[in-house]
Subunit: 366 residues, 4 copies
């Protein structure tokens, strides 16, 4: 259970950064859904390292193989095994960190917990694990396309370190035009210089990513402990380096009064319409039919060129500088990961709703 | 699975706000732990409504009965059923809301999802459900006391609407001295007047609660999808009205550089010592042994006296004013709930760690 | 997880033989299903002790209370808590067994495992726990009635100790006419004298029970590890005193050749028709649409008047005679329990199928 | 969840008979256990097809690759991916069965359920899936060796069609000397001629397999719904072609009286000693410390040369003869599979016990 998520659409990822391969075993896939490896590759390519100077220079094709669960281009209802072979595993880069614990990394906790750890590239705790999530998320998207067409899942960055975005300039099309998946062209420019500076200084910086699910039906979410927001929070918090998760208004909801926070309801031609979306599309753990908005903070990668104090496995004081190939802002590559997690959660809840209630929302208004 | 949480220490809550009773079925309880109902009652009394003018005036003794799993004052390893009978169920207060959907409440989503809802006091979506969590949390605390003595779990508020706390005045003892569980005596005074104003105006306001787990061993947390922070995020987000969850630095981590965020490590007399705790006691999903710090934002209760626009079940426009007995700041009573969830999660991970790895951390330093 | 079964329709039972109450917490109940306590009471009354001289003379009304999950006579989709209060708990009968382990009972294993046990009536290991299953099974039947009308689930005995039935005399109507739920009137007569003899001698005897599910659609069952037969086997083996489970031909399949065992297929007016049902209605873990046939053996109750050798808690040799109120053939009361488990499993798989595949079988023939 | 088993030691198998590969994703593996692929290969070789004239002539090396979860020859606590590539996939053999449903096979139920099926070699319903189980079972054995040395798990056949064994000739050493894993040398001879006859006639026959777990500690098993026998029953029933499962006395318990069935208890030098083992080492779902005895019946393979009546996908009547490479008695190769399942279940319960209760039985006698 430790490496699985989802109730019905259940994804188990496996593999280490520098092992022969990693992947996702996906159970609960509905049958009869068209699936070709290229459909998944499309999403993997968005997360793939080495695409521009702002992401790690590790060269991985991240080519996904579909080993099971598909027959003549359609899912069969049996588990889908998605495997990505590791090819560029320069373990020599990581010699030093076998003995020293990198501050802010999982080195020390894996060691304390298990008494053994694969130090090569962080082993299982490497963000490379998220490649498997993106593959599974691509599969979830194809299933959603078949079962609930019209759902759109899009992620972007809203903050990089000191710099946020200006929501009045929000432009969906801009997202694909810059290396930061940022929907604000001005911000993209500012961030470019800012991140170049950090990168050259061997530093790193945190980020905020936001994922919006548009077109999901009302009624998704299984209170009380498999609420849609609960599962989204878990999904996002499970991503490497994430330290905070928000739904809709998020932490800022604490500062509002009841009057300010209420999303008033009126009747539109196709059902209820809301005056605002402080709730982020979820009330009582169940989707309202509005945009589902989830946001998460990614801490700066702990691999930096400035020497940091640490200790060795034998408890001796030491200094460490991480010279490997790293992302100055891991938040960038967290965007497709957040999208993938959202796709998996939404699909899972669609199936769970179908199990308990049947197809579509059961209550009618009007 | 929808109303259960935990992997080994598994809590399933049941019951509605105005049904005959509500409770928690707790499976996976270790045997031989001393348990008397009063031990649980202590915690329930902290969450109990009607204790001061800042919480709902519903009068519920919230007396917990232990119906199973205990023999001669000790747990037997079989499921513990904790039941709380509802006594003050003035359903007449809620007549209006059977037909109209309260904005910001789960009324409309429960209706859309299930096609039926118990409107009395919000039914299952009422915060009254959290009484069962607090009972289960009390049980978790007793088990922790037996298995890992020295763990302390304490919650408090750090923000009420416009007003935060001043961490330089942080005082653990102050928490029990004011009605807000706030560790800052000055803040307590300010908040009192502030909330009185909101209460009299029939308004409400949001809050931020923080829970600290002190003394938990290193090594708790099961990567990749049952990370300690993942499960804490899910646990807190599942609490009514919570819209955001943070670990350690939280959303603010986005604004830091790698240099600022690094918690440097040195060797102390009892093991590793950290220069700071930006990580909130968790690295790679596993506890470091530092304080585990989790924070969550509670939105303002949506039940306010200002009329809000909504629709009826038949889709007609309507106005709604919620006249029932409500908390002007539900965040206050969320504090013991957050503590209870933290206790359950920490215990659950202690058991899960014991399953896979055995007693205590397995790796040694020095 | 230890006291729960089912994937979607998830039943957690709790309670001890001589505690204040026992019950079932049922999650995953579809909304909008009519439910009155009497519907459940009907099934409990069939299992209730003391109905004739062949079952324990403990006097329990086994009155079930529905504490949650139902509003105005309909399920709401939230957990249904079913509670049965214990009333006739003559603990004095059980004084002796607190110190001595009854051979064939769970006394010794509960002690070894947990280091504590509730000796009153066997505590959690008492067959009284099955009352909660029967209540949950009654609920499952009502849901099935709503979702898949036409499914009939009927149990009966096919063997009592030395005496089997003659299948050529099989008569469904006979089942309700005798105290043994046996579909063979001749057998009923023979068994009556036989069991009277055993009862008077303070002895006991084993039994075979069979449950048939008629009218279940093809397509239920989730290979590979949640096969319909896998889950039926687990469900039946979890019943107290059960030592064997068979599907269709069962253990006797070992003696057949491929030619004998083949259920040939032809096309009938409403779909495939089979020449026989050696498979017991399940192929590859999935229902064929034929009768689902599951059979289980119940060992003789270990509580007998003949003294048996045993040891005390301190390891001293001892003799034990169980004088309490017991069933000379627990198989009789296992029949409604087996039916209840079958109802839960079939419903659970109906919901699970609905989750992954949708309503009804997806493949067409012809 | 559909393709996973186990609570803590959780095995998810994936893959089809004629896909590129199949395997097992194993989560919950304790860290620090020595693991080399050869340790697993040993067990796979026992199940491997084509070893003698009594098993299918498909030539598969069944070479297992360990893709994750192991570092420098030791498990790390992260998921272990075990992959077996398919090499001898003569799909041409199976052309006919894409259109016709083989009686007794899962062809028709997979089709009805999913509306799509991989007909090549039975796809997911092929007994080839059990290779992944055997690999996982080999891993479980290594973990058991590390955590609870002294546990021995051995399987054998006790019946082939018309012919049983004579328990008075039972010889553990004989098991490895004949192609049937039968512990009775006389039986081995008889069976050889018997099966040669059936094989030449293109027929097939059923079998009974028995697995004994020796040396398991008392206290394993989590009542009420994760009893050790419940999980063993599920594990064995999930194996292809299994139609019945027995613990200890099994179905025959129905014919015993309480006096006959009682396993009397006395005190031996190392703890309780039992006069017999009708219970098969399990009381109340918990191990007693005696041999755990589980038995299962395997139906004759449905692939025979005698033409059988069936229908095509379009509902037309047809005859089918299965000419592929098949086992005349699949029970033979079910022996190592049953052992593997037993190993997984016992380990899983050891870990589950450790979670709830701690290391070793908690209660003392004497």
């Amino acid at each position: 259970m430790m490496n699985s998520f989802g109730h019905i659409f259940r994804v188990t990822t496996w593999g280490e950064s520098h092992g022969p391969a990693l992947g996702a075993t996906v159970d609960g896939v509905p049958p009869g859904v068209k699936l070709e490896p290229e459909m998944l590759q499309h999403w993997l390519d968005r997360r793939k390292p080495g695409q521009n100077r702002f992401t790690t220079q590790r060269r991985e094709p991240d080519a996904v193989k579909v080993l099971s669960g598909v027959y003549e281009g359609e899912t069969t209802g049996t588990p889908v095994q998605l495997m990505i072979e590791n090819t560029d595993q320069r373990s020599k880069d990581y010699g030093d960190i076998a003995e020293k614990f990198r501050p802010g990394h999982a080195d020390i906790t894996y060691w304390l917990k298990y008494g053994i750890r694969d130090p090569r590239g962080g082993g299982r705790s490497s963000a490379r694990e998220t490649a498997a999530r993106v593959a599974a998320g691509g599969l979830a998207r194809e299933v959603l396309k078949a079962l609930a067409p019209g759902i759109e899942i899009r992620g972007y960055m809203t903050r990089m370190g000191a710099h946020g975005i200006d929501r009045s300039r929000f432009d969906w099309d801009e997202i694909e035009r810059n290396p930061f998946w940022v929907p604000d062209a001005e911000a993209a420019k500012t961030w470019e210089g800012y991140l170049d500076g950090l990168r050259k200084a061997g530093s790193s910086v945190g980020a905020v990513c936001e994922v919006v699910v548009r077109g999901a039906p009302a009624g998704l979410g299984a209170p009380v402990y498999a609420k849609l927001d609960t599962d989204l929070a878990a999904a996002m918090m499970s991503i490497n380096a994430v330290k905070g998760v928000e739904i809709g208004e998020g932490m800022a909801a604490a500062m509002l009064t009841g009057e300010e926070n209420a999303d008033e309801i009126s009747m539109g031609p196709d059902g209820p319409v809301y005056s605002s979306n402080h709730a982020g599309g979820i009330l009582g753990g169940i989707s309202t039919g509005q945009d589902i908005v989830v946001r998460f903070a990614v801490k700066p990668t702990s691999s930096i060129l400035t020497p940091r104090k640490t200790i060795t496995r034998s408890g001796e004081p030491a200094e460490i500088v991480t010279k490997g190939r790293h992302d100055p802002c891991v938040g960038i590559r967290a965007v497709p990961v957040g999208e993938a997690m959202a796709a998996c959660v939404v699909l899972d809840h669609l199936l769970l709703h179908r199990a308990q209630v049947g197809d579509g929302p059961r209550g009618q208004i009007g």
